[in-house]
């Protein structure tokens, strides 16, 4: 009989607790009162700056670390931990002057030597972006506030790199114990990670750094970032008021988000479209003919694809450079209007009147509709799309390279970074290492030129790439970061996640 009595008691206690909690706890879990709660779609892989990433993971790092330079929401690069920066005449030596009033949260002081250690660790570490520092030949710290970075050749993206993961600076004492640093970051940032209240991979809680050197950037007493990878969980968190701002995994529920009284802040960073990677035709002979690549560009009804795949949340484009770039030319978006007849004529001219078969990878992540629509539009001009699903190896196989072309979403970075990412002969998204003398010439001019030259030549490069049809971009996708009625934010022109300093209580 004892068993039954215990069970009854358990039920009674549970019921009592449930009832009391209903009365007491409602609403107290939500933000307000100096707490900012954000939603992100991925967790950081490590808090060690040498393994860090940016993009969707940026807010986790920004909370605890400062970067050497600061990227503003106006698209400017400003001093931060480095109070000034200057290149020599041929842009191969970058001299940074480091602030002398910054203390890490373990009490140690920021100096040039700590910066040097951090930069060298990033260069030899396993951050996905370690390649950004491939061109650095030496980092010197001649005195306590001076850091001299020497480059093998000019790198017009270097200043921008120092505003993101490569520019994160951790305390020297913490660097000595990388295992601990991976989960217990020690930086000089506006907040300190509360490891006791943090569930790694799920929920990260930060408290205000009381000794922060730049209190203007601290708008909240506490910061919580919850990882809400599931689109439904994200929407529920918005409706239940459990976050103040969140990066949405997709634009599918924007109407519901606005219906809940939220403001949808948006920018456009990624373009989606076909990458015509095998421009030399080593794997797919037809792709070596520029007329074939142009034909593929004429084959797509970009407006219809944007409507069907993104519910019109984005902007149709025909170029890989973003609207914010000096290389951007609105006329290029009109270069290849939807014209299947013209596409067929071009294919016939190139000797492929009967079409050909193009093998491409597919991914369930992007949904089957995408691939069906692409097949249809390519079939209309006589090209047969043959898909293989490499599963988790999608990126690895694409870069191996195992496919001559692929549908893909790629980030539109600032010019030189974009060039290093998808155009230069050694860039990651030029897996066939395709080189074109004209492109090389443009790249040399951009690399060595002053700002005006860089802008001018980048424009010529962009036009050339579009004319040569290296890619078949469809549209830039809207990136949405809604905020609740009490919170405002400025979007970054160069990052998918806004800077945490740019989230502010609405006065």
């Amino acid at each position: 009989m004892l068993r039954w009595r215990t069970a009854t008691a358990a039920v009674a206690i549970t019921a009592a607790l449930a009832l009391s909690s209903c009365a007491a706890d409602t609403g107290s879990t939500q933000g307000g009162g100096g707490t900012l709660t954000l939603g992100a779609i991925v967790a950081p892989t490590t808090f060690d700056p040498a393994g860090s990433e940016w993009g969707n993971r940026a807010p986790f790092y920004q909370a605890v670390y400062d970067t050497l330079l600061l990227a503003t929401s106006e698209g400017e690069i400003e001093p931060f931990l480095a109070e000034s920066f200057e290149y020599n005449d041929d842009n191969t030596v970058l001299t940074l002057t480091i602030r002398d009033d910054v203390t890490f949260t373990d009490g140690s002081k920021l100096d040039a030597d700590v910066v040097k250690q951090n930069l060298e660790r990033f260069q030899t570490g396993t951050s996905p972006d370690a390649g950004y520092f491939a061109g650095i030949t030496s980092v010197e710290a001649p005195d306590a506030t001076t850091v001299v970075i020497t480059l093998a050749a000019p790198d017009p993206a270097m200043l921008n790199y120092l505003t993101r993961d490569p520019g994160l600076i951790a305390s020297a004492e913490a660097l000595a114990d990388p295992d601990s640093l991976a989960t217990d970051p020690v930086g000089s940032g506006p907040y300190v990670l509360d490891t006791a209240a943090t569930v790694t991979g799920t929920s990260y809680t930060y408290t205000k750094n009381p000794d922060y050197w730049n209190p203007d950037l601290q708008h909240y007493d506490t910061l919580t970032i919850n990882v809400l990878a599931d689109a439904t969980a994200g929407l529920n968190a918005i409706k239940a008021g459990e976050v103040n701002g969140i990066k949405l995994a997709s634009n599918d529920n924007l109407a519901e988000v606005e219906g809940a009284g939220w403001t949808v802040n948006a920018n456009e960073l990624d373009f989606q479209g076909l990458l015509l990677l095998d421009r030399a035709g080593t794997m797919s002979e037809p792709l070596s003919d520029v007329r074939v690549r142009q034909a593929i560009n004429y084959a797509f009804d970009r407006e219809a694809l944007l409507t069907a795949l993104q519910s019109d949340h984005g902007t149709v484009t025909g170029q890989v450079f973003p609207e914010s770039s000096p290389a951007f030319d609105p006329a290029l978006d009109e270069r290849y209007p939807y014209d299947p007849e013209k596409a067929k004529d071009l294919l016939a001219e190139a000797g492929y009147a009967d079409g050909f078969t193009l093998s491409m990878p597919s991914s369930t992540v992007l949904g089957s509709t995408t691939y069906t629509l692409l097949s249809q539009q390519l079939a209309d001009i006589g090209i047969t799309a043959e898909y293989t699903d490499p599963g988790n190896n999608f990126i690895a196989d694409l870069l191996a390279p195992k496919f001559p072309a692929s549908f893909m979403a790629l980030e539109q970075n600032p010019d030189w970074q974009l060039i290093q990412f998808m155009i230069a002969p050694n860039s990651v998204f030029n897996p066939f290492k395709y080189a074109d003398p004209q492109v090389d010439e443009y790249l040399a001019q951009i690399q060595a030129g002053d700002e005006a030259t860089q802008a001018e030549v980048a424009k010529q490069l962009n036009e050339y790439i579009v004319e040569q049809a290296w890619f078949a971009p469809f549209y830039r996708v809207q990136n949405s970061v809604p905020t609740d009625a009490n919170t405002s934010v400025e979007m970054m022109p160069t990052n998918v996640y806004p800077a945490i300093y740019d989230f502010q209580p609405k006065g």
């Binding site: 409602t26 295992d179 529920n236 990651v428």
Partner: protein
């Protein structure tokens, strides 16, 4: 009794070992370029190769497994390749979440199911029909659908409970209740349906046995017969079903944790498996296997305690 327990423990150890071999092999079959997956699309080939070497991924499969096994025996399950967290810490912190909702759901399922099952078997008639009907419904509606409806009604519209996230009991007992109640209810409904049917069947079966007639002929009241003797006999099968349910709930928790964004073992397993985070997946698999072995052992012991016949077999 002791040899019985030792025998079961030994077979449990062998089972856990076999599971670890299979899990490791399966992870590699689905593997591919894990270093590339960790680093993503921006990384150059050089960095990817360096990462692979750091993680020992350039070693033969057997060497990697042997390294994992020897350190696992020493109690070191390694670190996550994707978060850098110690696997032991990661698994144990999440175990509390999953056990909170799975044990909660099992207890509720047991209580409600026994009440419903006995009621249906004893009274018959319309009560039986209603219980049967509700059971079928509870069995047929998928748990995630129930979870979604619960969130909509009780978290979003009424604001009584949390829609996402978990509050540890230690930091706020009432917060803990608001964070686990909906997941527990969502999880328990399917189990209630199954166990109630089992209890009803067992009680009906027991009531038709000769010994019940004998007891009744001695003038014992029906209540006394049911609660003192029938339930004891019906309890064995019901416990077995409950144990199976508990193990099944560990699986069902995966979806519920996803919907409620609860940092549980299931969510960890999904994230880690999708990513190819082998140390974490192995940690989750081993801990789950150990839990299953222990639960089975406890159920066997409970059955033996309830029914001496089991001890002989």
């Amino acid at each position: 009794m002791l040899p019985f327990v030792l025998r079961r423990l030994a077979s449990g150890v062998v089972l856990v070992f076999v599971i670890s071999v299979i899990a490791y092999a399966l992870l590699y079959l689905g593997g591919g370029d894990i270093a590339r997956r960790i680093l993503g699309q921006n990384a150059t080939d050089d960095v990817v190769a360096q990462k692979a070497a750091d993680l020992g991924l350039d070693q033969p499969l057997l060497t990697q497994y042997f390294d994992w096994l020897t350190s696992a025996f020493g109690g070191d399950l390694g670190r996550s390749w994707f978060t850098g967290q110690l696997v032991a810490v990661s698994v144990s912190s999440r175990l509390a979440v999953t056990l909170s909702i799975v044990i909660g759901a099992t207890i509720i399922a047991a209580i409600v199911a026994v009440v419903l099952g006995v009621l249906a078997a004893r009274r018959g008639g319309w009560i039986d029909n209603v219980v049967q009907f509700v059971s079928v419904i509870g069995f047929a509606i998928p748990g995630f659908l129930i979870a979604l409806v619960l969130v909509l009604v009780f978290a979003i519209n009424l604001g009584l409970f949390k829609a996402t996230g978990y509050v540890p009991f230690a930091s706020s007992p009432s917060g803990w209740i608001t964070s686990v109640t909906l997941p527990v209810v969502a999880l328990s409904i399917g189990a209630i349906a199954t166990v109630a049917q089992q209890v009803r069947g067992s009680v009906l079966d027991a009531l038709s046995r000769d010994y019940v007639r004998t007891l009744r002929s001695r003038g014992l009241s029906t209540n006394r017969v049911v609660y003192k003797h029938v339930l004891r006999n019906a309890g064995g099968p019901a416990l077995a079903v409950l144990a199976v349910q508990f193990i099944g709930l560990l699986g069902a928790a995966v979806i519920v944790e996803q919907i409620f964004a609860l940092p549980g073992l299931g969510q960890l397993a999904v994230q880690a498996t999708g990513a190819g985070d082998i140390p974490v997946v192995m940690g989750v698999v081993i801990v789950s296997a150990i839990i299953v072995v222990i639960v089975n052992l406890l159920i066997d012991l409970a059955q033996a305690a309830l029914n001496p016949k089991v001890r002989l077999s």
